[in-house]
Each structure stands twice: as C-alpha cells, then as structure tokens.
C-alpha cells in the first residue's frame, strides 16, 4: 500500500498528529480558562477567544486535514478558497444587515 493510493488527502505522520493534538489542547484550554475566570474585559475577551478559535482551525486544517499548497491538492484549495469567500459574504453581510436593521427599527 503506497502513499499514492490515498490521493491528495492525507500525508500525516505520528509526529504531525501528536503536535497538532497538543497544539489543539493548549488552544482549547486557554480560552476556557480565560472565560471561566473572566480574566479580561468583555471586548478583549471576545477578541481573544475569537483569535484562539481561528488559530486552532488553522492547526486542524494543517495537522489533521493536511491541507497544503502541494500540486496534488490544488483543487481542494481552490474549492476551499471559494468556500471561504462565500462564508465571508454570508456571515459578514447577514450580520451587518441584521444589526443595522435592529438599530434602524429601534423605537
């Protein structure tokens, strides 16, 4: 069974999975502790946990899903990038519209 038979999907190693797991654990526990102890002011706390989530998503994509810029995966990346654009429009625009709606409809 050679690596080629798995297409562009996975090229993980024991080391990459362990490293990814440890990073993910740290990136999970820290925001939980921060929120449980209310260590920061509200806005700073929200920004911090959001940043931790983004970093952890990156860790999962790289270490668990093995997304890379190799030529084998080019089309995976193209679809992924397109999805990111759709998500940005969907989430950003909807939230923007609804909050302005709330604001403008206030009595």
């Amino acid at each position: 069974m050679n690596e080629k038979s798995f297409g562009g999907a996975a090229h993980g190693s024991y080391r990459s999975y362990t490293l990814g797991f440890i990073l993910a654990l740290v990136l999970t526990v820290i925001p939980f502790i921060l929120v449980m102890t209310a260590a920061l002011p509200v806005t700073a706390l929200l920004v911090t946990i959001g940043a931790f989530a983004l970093v952890q998503i990156g860790v999962h994509l790289v270490f668990f899903l093995h997304l890379s810029r190799s030529s084998e995966q080019r089309w995976n990346i193209v679809v992924f990038a397109y999805t990111l654009i759709v998500l940005a429009i969907l989430v950003g625009a909807s939230v923007w519209i609804m909050y302005h709606l709330n604001y403008n409809m206030m009595p």
């Binding site: 069974m1 690596e3 080629k4 038979s5 798995f6 297409g7 562009g8 999907a9 996975a10 993980g12 190693s13 024991y14 999975y17 362990t18 990814g20 797991f21 993910a24 654990l25 999970t28 526990v29 925001p31 939980f32 929120v35 449980m36 209310a38 509200v42 706390l45 929200l46 946990i49 959001g50 931790f52 989530a53 952890q56 998503i57 999962h60 994509l61 668990f64 899903l65 030529s71 084998e72 080019r74 089309w75 995976n76 679809v79 992924f80 397109y82 999805t83 759709v86 998500l87 969907l90 989430v91 909807s94 939230v95 609804m98």
Partner: protein, 199 residues
C-alpha cells in the same frame, strides 16, 4: 489554469479513490455553508431571550470543556487509525477506530444529557428564539457526529469481515475528512456559542 487538475488525471492506480475524496471534499465545503447559515441565524437571535433565560444562566462550561476534549481526542485517535492503516496493521486500525467511536459516542451522550437537562428545566427549543437557534445549531452538529458514528461502526464491521481492501482504505480516508471537519465546526461552536455566550 495550466494542465488538467491533478485529482482527475488518469492513468495511475487509485485515481477513482482520489476523485471520490475530492468529491467528498466538495460536499464538506457545502456543509460548511449549511453550518454558516445556522451560525448566522444564531448570531442574529443570540440575545432574543423573550423573557427566558440568558446564555449565561444555562450554559455549563465544565461540561462543554469535557465534550470538547472527547471530540478533540477522537480526532487524534482517528489520525492514529489512518497511520495504522497505512502500515497495513488491520488490528491496530480496528482498535483505534473503536476507541474513536467510543469517544464520539461519549460526546453525543454528553450533548444529549445537556439537552435533556435544558428541556426538563423548561428551557427547550420552544422557550425563546435564542434557544430555538441554539438547539438547531448544536443538534445539527450532533446529528452529523451521530451519522459519522454510524458510518464508523459499519466500517469497523466491514473491515473486520472483508479485510483491508483498497475500497475500504478509501472509505476510511473519506470518513477521516468528515470526522476532522466536524471537529472544526465544534471549535466554532464552543467558541462563538458557549464561550461567547458566557462572557
């Protein structure tokens, strides 16, 4: 775009499996959009309590942390399963898959007990728009995990009976994408629903 997409390049063995994986990746990306719409719905309704309880009053973070640990560890053990598969170690693969399934089932169990607690306290999905959006979002993820579990159990049975063929290894890799993806969705869930709700 120069040349053909590598995923579709004909010739070498195993190409159908990489096409299948690519197709499944496209499905996962569309699933992302589904979850994004539910997240947006929750974002819009997250403060529509209708006189009911607020997020801060009903979320219990220690339980959520435990759920997160189960799911995160299951992603890791699934990774170990794929490594065992690549070495051709069928027994080891089955063992890691079984451990992953147990961890996944523990996650679903914890989530169900949380839902049960909320409903018994009178804070079911019909209590307020916030709770409707919360239940829809979290239960959709839980349903995905449950489907993944069912798939995993069937796969364990197939590999145990029929051995580790090329078809089976392709299925293991497909489920791997699905399982890791669900973990990523959960990161967004515990951060933007649970943690942000309690802040």
């Amino acid at each position: 775009m120069s040349g053909e997409p590598s995923n579709v390049r004909a010739g070498a063995e195993g190409d159908t499996s990489s096409i299948r994986l690519f197709g499944f990746w496209v499905y996962i990306m569309s699933d992302c959009v589904l979850f994004a719409t539910l997240f947006v719905t929750f974002a819009v309704l997250h403060a529509s309590y209708a006189g009911g309880p607020t997020a801060k009053q009903i979320f219990e973070l220690p339980g959520v942390l435990l759920e997160t640990m189960f799911l995160l560890t299951s992603s890791f053990t699934y990774g170990l399963a794929t490594l065992a598969m690549r070495r051709g170690a069928r027994g080891e693969l089955l063992a890691w898959l079984a451990i992953t399934a147990v961890l996944g089932a523990s996650f679903v169990g914890l989530e169900l007990s949380e839902f049960r607690r909320l409903v018994l306290e009178g804070n079911g999905p019909q209590r307020s728009a916030f709770l409707s959006a919360f239940f829809t979002l979290v239960a959709t993820h839980g349903l995905h995990v449950s489907c993944g579990l069912l798939w995993m159990i069937v796969l364990i049975g197939q590999i145990a009976r029929k051995g580790l063929s090329r078809t089976m290894s392709s299925r293991v890799m497909t489920l791997s994408l699905f399982w890791h993806f669900l973990d990523i969705v959960w990161i967004c869930l515990f951060t933007f629903v649970y943690l942000a709700g309690v802040v």
